[in-house]
């Protein structure tokens, strides 16, 4: 027996005629948040695209270069497998990002601020909804539900991702690998494999976590991009929403493939060979830096 929902508005002797419409409830009573409700909601939507979405595209593009970098590398100085060349390209990309982007700190603050904002409000907004996919198993309803699930899991994943790779919470990394920026490729490979001695079960778990995290976040972004176009009123008709849906699916697919490619390549790569490449590149860079011409 379930309890019947109570009808608070049905007071004996009362009437349920039309309630007088509140004339935009007195401003003094409203909180700062309520007064700027629209702004917060739209900022939440916007931050998902800019900067977070843009960063995500860039991040996956950079990382996936380990898989396709061999094709892009202009000169191959050593004879090595394709993924070592890819990792070399990736090394160069990372170095370029870290040294050539102006005001990197400001960008990072903006990015982290946005992620924090998007997460906090995202969770808050998601809490206002309910789940009814069992009764209304429409594709759109499933995406609605998945958007919220992917948001929750995405937050956890990002936290893990950053905590282990940035903040050095090595106790969460199998084999205790310390990720370092100069040796990004090899330490990442070690992390995903669970240590230097082949692929371990713990490593597999980490890889799986990455796979799920990346997949859900890419879905979250692509689907978010689709709903944002409705939220902002860019796509109006059902047809335009469908067309934009194809576009978002396309973008999501490309990003998904990039994410999976980077994951598989890093997880499959021999960390020792990557380390070798990184040391070679670091040395080479030091020489270039030491050269007076370079200044």
């Amino acid at each position: 027996m379930v309890s019947c929902r109570s009808a608070g508005l049905l007071r004996p002797g009362g009437t349920t005629g039309i309630h007088h419409v509140m004339q935009s409830a007195t401003a003094s009573k409203e909180s700062f948040f309520q007064r700027h409700y629209f702004l917060f909601r739209r900022l939440h939507s916007l931050t998902g695209i800019l900067p977070i979405g843009v960063f995500l595209i860039n991040h996956l593009l950079t990382n996936s270069s380990v898989a396709w970098g061999a094709l892009a590398l202009r000169e191959k100085t050593v004879d090595a497998p394709w993924w070592v060349h890819g990792a070399e390209y990736f090394w160069r990309e990372v170095r370029w990002l870290n040294t050539q982007i102006p005001n990197l700190l400001l960008i990072e603050i903006a990015l982290w601020g946005s992620i924090l904002f998007h997460s906090v409000f995202g969770v808050y907004y998601a809490m206002t909804g309910s789940v009814n996919t069992a009764r209304y198993a429409y594709q759109g309803n499933w995406r609605y539900r998945l958007q919220r699930i992917s948001g929750y899991i995405g937050i956890l994943f990002i936290f893990y991702h950053v905590a282990t790779l940035r903040w050095g919470w090595t106790f969460l990394v199998p084999g205790g690998t310390v990720w370092s920026q100069e040796f990004a490729a090899s330490t990442l490979a070690l992390t995903l494999r669970g240590g230097s001695s082949g692929v371990t079960a713990a490593g597999l778990a980490v890889s799986l976590a990455y796979f799920i995290g990346v997949t859900l976040l890419v879905f979250h972004f692509a689907n978010g991009l689709w709903t944002a176009a409705i939220t902002w009123g860019l796509t109006i008709s059902e047809a335009s929403q469908r067309r934009w849906g194809y576009a978002c699916t396309g973008l999501g697919t490309v990003l998904m493939i990039m994410g999976w490619m980077s994951l598989f390549t890093f997880a499959a790569a021999d960390p020792a060979k990557l380390r070798e490449m990184e040391e070679r590149m670091t040395q080479k860079q030091a020489m270039v830096s030491a050269s007076p011409i370079a200044r």
């Binding site: 508005l9 419409v21 209304y136 429409y138 009123g233």
Partner: protein
């Protein structure tokens, strides 16, 4: 007086019995319980005609005599919206729910529940006052000067009429709200102005924002829709448009209001207030 026959659909078995499982509740705050009735199905039967049979002689499958089931109904031709309920787990009008389609075989089961997003009055009858209240939130009307003889209204192209007519067929049944994961039960009317307003009201705002005279209140409607419980609380699950019995393009209306609020916010930012 009418004895004309309609074709039996989907080879539904003639002379069969169907089980109705009905979620009953004696009143607000009382417990709910399932009761089952076995009903002989006449020709052209729908859920309403079966409920009428139950009302005339309410005896459950296990032989217990009970009170008649209470439900809300009006036109019985799917134009008034009254008889909306949850049938086999999905919200719809019970008048247009034909037994031949839902239960073509002997012993088939049909479940009836009250809508879950509105307070139950009794059995299958719910109080949908909030739905109407939300129409007032967006001032869903044309602010005419009065009922005096002041000449014709504005001219309109057939294409624009076709758009408006569809929007205007909304019968306030509440299907879009029942299926919406963002629209939740809110028995306390004090919270109605900040709880999600629902697709039906957003669509009506679009209709009246588009009317040459209704436009006069456009800013007020958009202001209301930009606040808490307004357009931004839509989660784009788009169940509303799927369950709308009148095929109203509700998601299109939501997008239109999305655009209007975007433009309104920009205009407000620069125009100041």
């Amino acid at each position: 007086m009418s004895t004309a026959t309609a074709p039996v659909r989907r080879n539904a078995k003639v002379g069969r019995h169907v089980f109705f499982r009905i979620l009953r509740c004696e009143g607000p705050g009382k417990p709910s319980q399932w009761q089952e009735f076995r009903i002989p199905i006449p020709e052209n039967a729908n859920v309403i005609s079966c409920l009428q049979q139950i009302a005339a002689n309410p005896v459950t499958t296990d032989g217990q005599t009970v009170t008649p089931v209470v439900w809300d109904a009006g036109c019985l031709e799917e134009v008034c919206g009254a008889c909306t309920m949850v049938i086999n787990g999905k919200v719809r009008q019970s008048c247009s729910c034909l037994i031949d389609e839902y239960a073509p075989n002997e012993g088939d089961v049909i479940t009836l529940e009250p809508m879950s997003k509105f307070p139950v009055v009794r059995d299958l009858w719910v109080d949908r006052s909030r739905l109407f209240h939300n129409l007032a939130r967006v001032k869903a009307w044309v602010p005419i000067d009065g009922t005096y003889d002041l000449g014709a209204g504005p001219k309109e192209t057939p294409a624009s009429q076709a758009t408006h007519y569809v929007l205007s067929t909304c019968m306030s049944c509440g299907c879009c709200l029942e299926a919406c994961p963002q629209f939740n039960l809110e028995p306390d009317s004090a919270n109605w102005d900040t709880a999600f307003i629902g697709a039906h009201a957003i669509s009506q705002a679009r209709l009246f924002n588009d009317h040459p005279t209704g436009r006069e209140l456009k800013d007020e409607r958009l202001d209301a829709l930009m606040g808490e419980g307004g357009i931004n609380d839509c989660g784009n699950a788009q169940n509303c448009v799927k369950v709308c019995p009148k095929h109203i393009p509700l998601t299109e209306s939501i997008a239109v209001i999305g655009r209007q609020t975007t433009m309104h916010a920009i205009a407000q930012f620069f125009r100041g207030r």
